[in-house]
């Protein structure tokens, strides 16, 4: 069938600059560029280009420019190019339109309409370069009260037995991305960076590759509906366990890692045969209620002799506050909220862009609800989904998060350009792929360096912003919504966020 879908991008090549080195031909995993020997010229197939900028970045003479195709359908605010193209694609294939990464629509973000405070005259700001600044964060269940004992020899002794905690040197962790959806070299980079910086990386649902067990102290192992690679050693290998109920990019639905991606290596870690689809059912079939969730939380605690905190991750949805309350009461040590802008390796676009609610709203309402019920101390709250700068991190903490998860930002640090084609498994940057020809493009040593660099940069920025507000411990930012003011928000939005209007 002749496809009516027009190419999204046009590859322009300055033939005067092109030296026929074929770097672009070799770098593109979508077969966009090809060399014509007869005419000694490199040409491009526009329809294959995903605008990942790999060729343009590696072209030694900057001969390549990728442009959005100036040919487009008649402008129409309702019938957008995307809407028309999707329909044509679906008519031709009869399938569900897939996408990767987080929601790309502009109307679902609140971070940019929240502004931070700073000290002026009446309270002194602090210079983080010269004064101590505390970003260290402990996540896990905190006791209702602390009992201490005075001991003559040793001074004050803690009598209360504390629940297991994770110590984060900066309140940023790497969110779940499974081995299979991303490559082993990316996992290595994340694990090394987390160890070096003193934070944590999450395995996602695809198990923990053998060579990464040594980073266990900085690993959160995930248990999802497919139970891939879940066995006693795995559960005990990490510093914490995360039960994945939902994901911001695709709340309520399961996932399929297509058989093509289940290579020898993936098969070994997931413990499934090569080439079969790895199906993650939509629900966890042993969890149909809060009581059942409690059962799995405690099954995991039993399996690890109560030595590890258990996270429960949910997508931000309409009743997140009530659900989070249930999760805390079910015994979770940490609740993760993944907002509508959360990323994914593959999700139906219709789900990604239409299901779930913004993280900011869910976070504010969950924090408030847990406080109102007097159980906020019983669990830490982690904000995830679309955090793209250190300001987002600080705003999330001011809205009530203990720490945040980042994933897309981490991949961007490694080279990702958010082209949204992760689901093809052909990532030219060697990230969202298991093809060994492509995965070599990430060097774990350099990858870890880039990730550590990102965390360091963001941490410095957070300290600068805190210092500007006269605050020297992240503890004092947490849930401190007076540090935030809103702009361009309705009364209802401000009320839910628990934030005042700028100028108020």
């Amino acid at each position: 069938m002749k496809s009516y879908v027009i190419p999204e991008y046009i590859v322009e090549r300055d033939q005067d600059r092109c030296i026929r080195c074929k770097v672009c031909v070799n770098q593109c995993s979508y077969d966009t560029h090809y060399y014509d020997e007869e005419d000694d010229i490199i040409l491009s197939r526009n329809e294959n280009c995903v605008n990942c900028q790999r060729c343009a970045t590696f072209c030694p003479t900057q001969a390549i420019t990728i442009r959005e195709n100036p040919n487009h359908y008649r402008s129409n605010a309702n019938w957008t190019q995307e809407a028309i193209a999707s329909i044509k694609k679906q008519a031709e294939t009869g399938g569900v339109v897939l996408t990767g990464m987080g929601c790309d629509k502009p109307n679902l973000t609140y971070w940019d309409r929240l502004l931070l405070n700073a000290s002026q005259v009446t309270n002194p700001s602090i210079d983080p370069l010269r004064e101590p600044m505390e970003l260290r964060t402990y996540i896990g269940s905190k006791p209702d009260k602390l009992e201490v004992e005075m001991d003559e020899g040793n001074g004050v002794m803690l009598k209360t037995k504390l629940a297991p905690q994770l110590r984060l040197e900066t309140p940023i962790m790497f969110s779940a991305m499974s081995y299979g959806s991303i490559s082993l070299n990316v996992h290595k980079s994340l694990a090394r960076a987390a160890s070096e910086v003193g934070t944590f990386y999450n395995t996602g649902e695809g198990g923990l590759e053998k060579s990464l067990y040594k980073y266990g102290d900085h690993v959160i192992v995930q248990v999802a509906s497919g139970r891939f690679g879940v066995h006693p050693e795995y559960l005990n290998a990490g510093a914490a366990i995360e039960i994945k109920i939902g994901q911001g990019a695709k709340p309520g639905i399961g996932g399929h890692l297509p058989g093509e991606k289940v290579s020898e290596e993936i098969s070994e870690t997931r413990m499934i045969p090569v080439g079969t689809d790895a199906l993650s059912p939509a629900p966890q079939h042993d969890i149909y209620s809060i009581e059942d969730l409690r059962q799995l939380i405690y099954a995991l605690k039993e399996a690890t002799d109560y030595t590890k905190p258990v996270f429960v991750k949910i997508a931000a949805v309409h009743n997140s506050a009530a659900i989070a309350s249930g999760i805390v009461r079910a015994g979770a040590d940490i609740v993760v909220l993944d907002g509508v802008r959360g990323g994914t390796g593959a999700a139906p676009r219709i789900i990604r862009d239409n299901v779930g609610i913004p993280l900011e709203m869910a976070l504010a309402s969950v924090d408030q609800r847990l406080r109102d019920e007097g159980i906020r101390n019983k669990a830490s709250v982690i904000a995830a989904g679309g955090i793209k700068s250190s300001a987002d991190v600080l705003k999330a903490i001011a809205l009530g998060a203990d720490a945040v998860y980042i994933a897309t930002a981490a991949l961007v640090a490694l080279g990702c350009t958010v082209c949204q084609k992760c689901y093809t498994g052909k990532c030219p940057w060697g990230i969202a792929t298991t093809d060994l020809w492509l995965t070599k493009r990430i060097n774990p040593d350099l990858g870890a360096k880039r990730l550590a660099g990102l965390l360091r940069g963001w941490s410095l920025e957070i300290m600068e912003m805190m210092g500007g507000m006269g605050i020297n411990a992240i503890e004092s930012v947490r849930g401190n919504r007076l540090l935030l003011r809103g702009v361009g928000l309705s009364d209802t939005e401000l009320k839910i966020l628990g934030v005042r209007m700028a100028g108020e």
């Binding site: 066995h231 499934i272 080439g275 689809d277 199906l279």
Partner: protein, 262 residues
């Protein structure tokens, strides 16, 4: 063995003779019971008898050794969850989630089972003498040397073998009178690996399942499983094997391969 070598304080409900420990679980909270089991595991105890079990959960979880456990009563949900290696015999019925995500070991139940027997199980064997509930063997999977087996002596309910990705599931319907017709619906929905052997017919199959006749290899495997099953319950394997069995296999290892527009 000296008791104090095993645990610091020997509870009143525990006695140890040679390598056999006996526990009276009456009124014991599950956390205390499992903590006691953990302290016995790997300390020279080879067998544990637990009596008066009334719904304590997670028995057998987090035990490393090849310890034998005899449970008298009704263990609670998630018996043997994530279990690797232990050998449990239950003299009574089991509740939901028996063998949940089990990796290795064996569970023999002299009675009925609730829902979710062997959920996501990857290795080991489960034998249930009588009926089992819904979603037996859901998402069982196999990998290299790991192949899980479940044999249900009675019948099982809807979604038997749902999402099944590996392993072997046998349903014998021994207690059924007349023509054997299992009442389960959506059997093998989403199945993409593994094999089911069903004695008699099934009311309703999932779309992803194909029914075939057994071949020589199948009879050999089925025969050995039924023999083992019968050895635990003193039943006549030959008589059971006389009946017609149906073999259920997935149509494809990639049931949802053509769902998407790229």
């Amino acid at each position: 063995m000296v008791l104090k070598d095993v645990i610091n304080r020997v509870p009143e409900n525990l006695s140890i003779e040679k390598h056999v420990a006996k526990i009276d679980a009456y009124g014991v909270y599950y956390r205390d019971l499992n903590s006691l089991l953990r302290s016995l595991d790997g300390n020279g105890v080879e067998k544990i008898e637990i009596r008066n079990v009334y719904g304590q959960r997670y028995i057998g979880t987090d035990l490393d050794g090849h310890i034998k456990i005899d449970v008298y009563g009704t263990p609670g949900n998630d018996l043997g969850a994530f279990m690797r290696g232990a050998n449990i015999t239950v003299h009574g019925n089991v509740q939901d989630g028996c063998g949940n995500t089990m990796d290795h070991g064996q569970i023999v139940v002299h009675g009925r089972a609730g829902d979710l027997v062997g959920h996501s199980m990857r290795g080991g064997k489960i034998f249930i003498r009588d009926d089992a509930g819904y979603r037996v063997g859901i998402h069982m999977k196999e990998y290299l040397g790991k192949r899980p087996f479940i044999v249900i002596g009675g019948t099982a309910q809807d979604f038997l073998g749902e999402y099944m990705a590996g392993g072997v599931l046998v349903v014998l319907g021994i207690n059924m009178k007349g023509e054997i017709r299992h009442n389960a619906r959506f059997v093998g929905t989403g199945m993409h690996g593994g094999t089911m052997y069903i004695r008699g017919e099934v009311r309703h199959l999932g779309e992803e399942v194909e029914v075939t006749d057994l071949e020589e290899d199948d009879f050999r495997l089925l025969g050995s499983l039924v023999d083992e099953f019968c050895s635990y319950y003193r039943l006549d394997a030959e008589k059971i094997l006389e009946s017609k069995f149906n073999k259920l296999i997935p149509v494809s290892s990639r049931p949802y391969g053509n769902l998407y527009a790229y």
